[in-house]
Subunit: 251 residues, 2 copies
Amino acid sequence: VLSLLAIEGLPRIHRDDDLASLLTHALGRDNPWREGDVVVIAQKIVSKAEGRVTRLEDIRPSPAAAALAEQTEKDPRLVELILSESRAVVRARPGLIIVEDRRGFICANAGIDRSNVEQDEPGEWVALLPEDPDASARRIRDRIHELTGISVGVVINDSHGRAFREGTVGVAIGLAGVPALADRRGDADLTGFVLQHTVIGIADEIAAAASILMGPAAEGVPAVLVRGLILPDIEGSARELQRDREKDLFR
Amino acid sequence: VLSLLAIEGLPRIHRDDDLASLLTHALGRDNPWREGDVVVIAQKIVSKAEGRVTRLEDIRPSPAAAALAEQTEKDPRLVELILSESRAVVRARPGLIIVEDRRGFICANAGIDRSNVEQDEPGEWVALLPEDPDASARRIRDRIHELTGISVGVVINDSHGRAFREGTVGVAIGLAGVPALADRRGDADLTGFVLQHTVIGIADEIAAAASILMGPAAEGVPAVLVRGLILPDIEGSARELQRDREKDLFR
């Protein structure tokens, strides 16, 4: 049995908060971490703990941002941030900017989001993605081990839209102690047929599963404990989930 | 707590098998269906129960199939089947054919798969997608209700590749008694910010979660019981997960 438990009761997250400690505390003494647990953490609270929030009032749009903002009917200050967080604009139309972000993710608005980013100072705050989400996951994993002696896998997830399909789904943008992909090429099926194309995006499936409990914009449930996974002991990186530009048929 | 239980011990599935009855029996008396349960069933066994299998030896490729087979270095008989199950070829290159299938899904090989399709007669058997996966899900839901008096949600899932990201993930291709999308547009977040773009592909997240336990090509675990979902009481269709061609930026 695979079980997913919403980790509730976390306080509002501020810059420099120790997420590993807060998560450990929120689980409580009755339900401590176990070896093999995976914790899925919403990008939003990781960004807030890392101080990756900024105020639109403080942004001065470049001429390029102003032009793209006009084309897409978006706030020029937000577009300035999107461009500064991106390598390339993949698609743009009114209401939508899809980029390849600085970390290599193809996503809307470079993952920048206005919801649930309240801060003590007033203003229109937005959250940017962590600078290096794999490193963020690694720090949380290491810190949980330091606090408790237990090695848990960490997945940082975000909600992405998709080509061809309606609706956002949770995807993995940072990993530690969890494989990104499960490669079954060369294995035989039950009838002896050798699987030829089967590489499973296992970390994305875990991220999507946790997202069921998180709801939109991680309202109230910014972390989920996943217990009962049987995973190969492979150290993954969310970058393995990014298809190389040359191999992608849909840019 | 959301729990996912692999439904094991199903026999090999043959044409006209009563999947609802087999699943009910496999769960056993100790763990009967409960109201609100969702069962995720791998497309492969639905196809087999519906007789949606065919033998490559019996297929005669058309000239168009032969040409596409040469371009993509695939078996011309398989390509004939792919074309007969498709509305349009979206991308083709050596080793890969991505189509819009007859049901509207953008997927490789029109969802046709060779793994775990053993039949009593020898030959190179392949499984096609169910003719109408929503209708398949509906029949299974209705039959479980007939047998037990319990209304369970049914999701038929398959593994799809994706634009931009490596690895396949489980997606919903048929639904009954489960919403496809959870539309949160207009709801306020915890800070009062009104969500503007949040439509969640909830059925795909459920399909992906179950896929974690299924493994590639549904080896050994062709169905998963999902218990503890809190879903709006909306009757969904997997077609709602298909983005209209005119709205899609990546065709």
